[in-house]
Symmetry: D2
Subunit: 338 residues, 4 copies
């Protein structure tokens, strides 16, 4: 029963098949191949507007390059204090941006609220002594598995626009959010004011493929240059493009995400008394205390503590291909704690 | 009655005289002049140990270059959330360090407590995902005018050493701290574990002179290079050196700081009912509410609000040459609020 | 007849098979998987000494992270003016190093000679005004397809060591060099004084896998941190590791490189009158003039001009899987120019 | 007889007097003081157009901040291989710009010719692999003491504009150039297409004051932020402003420069047989060979070798206050070499 991470899972068969299929013939290098050339159209169709898309191989690269294209070195990025960009990227946004500052706010379920943004803005008026808030970055789904609703996104988008902040979404698990909400990708992005989206595929069944989606194609040159300079322009671009196209085709991305979300709901039902965050996507947070966590581990479950060591809290992540039997066994184990 | 800042004051006559005296004859450029060459010895005597000293013209430069010499780009600097390096330098530490991260802790009177350091350390164990805490930086005096005692410093020094953190002190108002405590410069620096000190003179009577004091001279080459590369190696170094030597000679630095501290005490006595921080140096924080602050301004007082607009709180700074009459007038005005 | 680049070729079947084989079961994320864990041993065996190995997906990333681990921001990297790091990486070494400077030297066949290194060193003695030369970086094979002999490497290694320069080799085509010389990987690296090697696999049959080989494992932490921070730590590390292991196993890497080298020799023989550089690896440089290049293109050949437009010079690259028939057809076409 | 540098001289009495005069009363900090507020108007009058002016204390800071405001991190700055920004600033432009690349061209008397710019542009068309040339930077006077004529400047300006390059002039000795040419500051700057000028005062009689002159005031915010972040916003700004205002007032800057230029002509006449560059400003380059240089030193002359050690070439710099007697003695000494 391994619920450590959705990064430990394999690549979906449809995606692996696409990689193999791409392995034939000559293909122009550095993104000039036919598969890569199809990405802009595929994403533009998906998002119902013209977008520019840039593949990279990690979410950290996607987030950092996207943010660096939107924030000057003396700028600030407002984000949640538990955000991946703040806690798990070893300072990549600072590196790519030339030393911009993450401005950390608090909020339940790792969500950023418009009021928290406003409060942070109010504290940064002393130009040129303070950095200039230049972007808002949120994670959808959040680091606590929560999902921003369309209304929440629109409110944040309005706040960002009013303050001239670029609005970035770290969508490492964007598929899980779309699957969870009765809303289109467009509604959960540019229609809510999102300027830049890190569109993840790796956790949800790809091998190694993430896309920076720029809703304003004018950002293209800056992103192209920063990607190259970061060492993220693949010479044999066809393989990552093949992954992403297969991921989007016939709705694979949403099917895999919906499956994981549903299984997480099952876990959530079993863990109801111990839930430390609402179960809205493929992550389940429980806080039964250290002793109970030890019991779960003794019962064969693998997972990570959350928020540090010995907090009594843990995270269970359901992967796109998690076996149902494994989920059911975990539910049974959780029931023993009641 | 102008209590806005100690940056609005003039240069002390002793220091101006030294600048003029330096204005004769040929002097080698870029710090090879005789005055600059005397600095290491002067500071080594003052601190009772061999130090390497590097002049710059602003506190921001001193702090940033010192920290960059101690922290890798993937490092973190633990500091108070109100620290000058965090709030007032437009990201200079991030710029000079190549994107290191400031790890903000809270604490009364803008002081960092060892427990807060330990707590931050505990949250940064996920190498290489999290940045690596590499330095502790405090302000002495703090941004709230408080002074770390010898025991407090020693405890922080021990915490830093145990965690392999470089210990930096932003001493823009170090003179005020030394004047306030019955302790030597050595006791308030390397004897307490301090590795790097930004030793300020500008606010306390110089024209434009700040020193980076490195208690481990092995840091010299890195500081020398970073200073040059930051554009802070003065071609005609004699003038800044002359300021600093005059500042140290015959205890001018302590006399000026003690005078300002004493006048601040007088203000503190008058403002006792409204004090929002203890008066331990040359800054006085009051929180009588917005209406009373308006009354003070109507009475002719100049000062800045603190912590944002309309907080009802304000800061009064006493400069090295603040007129006693001005302080007394302000005391009288404060008394009207009781 | 497509001789544009070895980046346009597919992935070798052995490597693709390894990728598929890796696509089963749970694997720890971020390089803690079993395949990645085998890399250090595999490379240590190959190089006959203990090395630390770090996978990335592009040569630009390998070069930049390796150099940044060896050069301070105020350092200089001595390299050939035609080096890939100088001309083709959009400033990635400057980005990763925090602004170090590439110090460009000239030399026949894109080779750096010890005398050129010495000359550059002599021009950088004005500390702290000039940057400090801190690394020597060469390409093996060079950007002109030439190969440094063991003696040439040893001489450069001695020059580097004497000047306290780290010695880096951009080995995007290291396999072609090893295949061309009767020398072991050890002899062409650490035994000649090399400290850091970018060991390429992508051009020679991998999908996307390059290794930073550190001959001093003490560099590990810095490389680990810079890789993470650059967004180059793959979450699902197994796939890149599988490629690299398959590449090394049973000598695939050398077989593929030797084949390409041999076919290039065939082209070289046909192009003898027009050769603008010796044919020592899988690249052939010819300078028959613009008219003859036009004739070759009219005859169905694809290739890039070299050194700018309308120089009358061109580069022909033989890929690992270039069809023999294609090479023979090209030879016939070249013969028509005589 | 000390001709080592114009950085070894004192501060002109008019300027020192202005510094003293500024040392009275309260002055707003961080450039909000009355003297600093007068700078934009003073420079706008001098240059006959609206400019935005930013004081810093070193030429390295002026050059680096100006260039960083004009060049993205993936950009290139075309400059002469002997330029101060290339050889004498320890990588400051790379640091401030976030890793932009200096693209070095050759040219007689350290001048950049339009053809050399065009040639460099032609080598940087491979986007995004090559950096993007984004600025042209020249030194007026050059590092060889030469002066660009109005026509030469206009040709460079046209070349820059055609290629969308920002045009920067390192005017550490701009006064000497204006004094040497029968042209106005406007003619030698924006009328020739110059966008950014580092206007030096320190070498020519100030204590420590250099101005970034932006002919497009829209660049202001970026320069303001970069200056602050570089630690170059002086808290007590009045003293540097006082220097600069005194420097400009009643033509002091041109008088001092003209005097130095004239004395250099005298030296040039005496050194005619050994001149290695035309004498057009306050620097004289001679190449009499090592033995003759030794004779000059034996005769009591101080100066630096040029272009490395034992080149047989030397530089003689005439300072604003060089004694005529000293110049005459040097002329006599030079005459002994004939």
């Amino acid at each position: 029963m391994d619920f450590r991470s959705d990064n430990t899972s394999t690549c979906a068969p449809e995606i692996m098949a696409a990689v193999q299929a791409a392995n034939a013939g000559i293909a122009s290098a550095y993104g000039a191949d036919e598969l890569t050339q199809r990405l802009d159209a595929a994403f533009s169709a998906l998002f119902e507007c013209e977008v520019a898309v840039f593949l990279v191989t990690t979410g950290t690269a996607a987030n950092s390059i996207a943010l660096a294209s939107a924030v000057p070195p003396w700028g600030g990025v407002i984000c949640h204090e538990e955000a991946h960009i703040a806690c798990d990227e070893c300072g990549a946004p600072e590196f790519y941006s030339g030393g911009a500052k993450l401005l950390l706010v608090r909020g339940e379920n790792a969500k950023v609220a418009p009021a928290a943004v406003a409060d942070m803005l109010a504290r940064h008026t002393r130009s040129p002594h303070a950095v200039k808030p230049a972007a808002l970055s949120i994670s959808q789904t959040t680091e606590r598995g929560a999902v921003y609703t369309r209304d929440e996104l629109a409110a944040l988008g309005a706040t960002a626009r009013a303050a001239d902040l670029a609005f970035h979404v770290d969508g490492a698990r964007f598929a899980n959010a779309v699957a969870a909400l009765s809303a289109s990708p467009a509604q959960l992005s540019w229609k809510a004011g999102v300027d830049l989206l890190s569109f993840g595929a790796t956790k949800n069944g790809a091998m190694s493929a993430e896309a920076i989606v720029a809703f304003d194609p004018a950002r293209a040159e800056e992103i192209v240059r920063r990607r190259k300079r970061g060492g993220h322009l693949l010479s044999k671009g066809r393989y990552a493009a093949a992954q992403m196209l297969a991921y989007l085709e016939s709705g694979l991305w949403l099917r895999l995400a919906a499956r994981a979300n549903n299984l997480a709901q099952r876990l959530g039902d079993a863990a109801r008394p111990f839930l430390s965050a609402p179960v809205e996507s493929n992550q389940v947070f429980i806080k039964p205390g250290n002793e109970d966590l030890a019991r779960l581990r003794a019962g064969g479950a693998l997972f990570y503590d959350w928020g540090g060591e010995d907090t009594g809290e843990a995270r269970l992540v359901v992967s796109w291909n998690q076996a149902e039997a494994e989920v059911d066994a975990m539910c049974a184990l959780l029931n023993t704690l009641r």
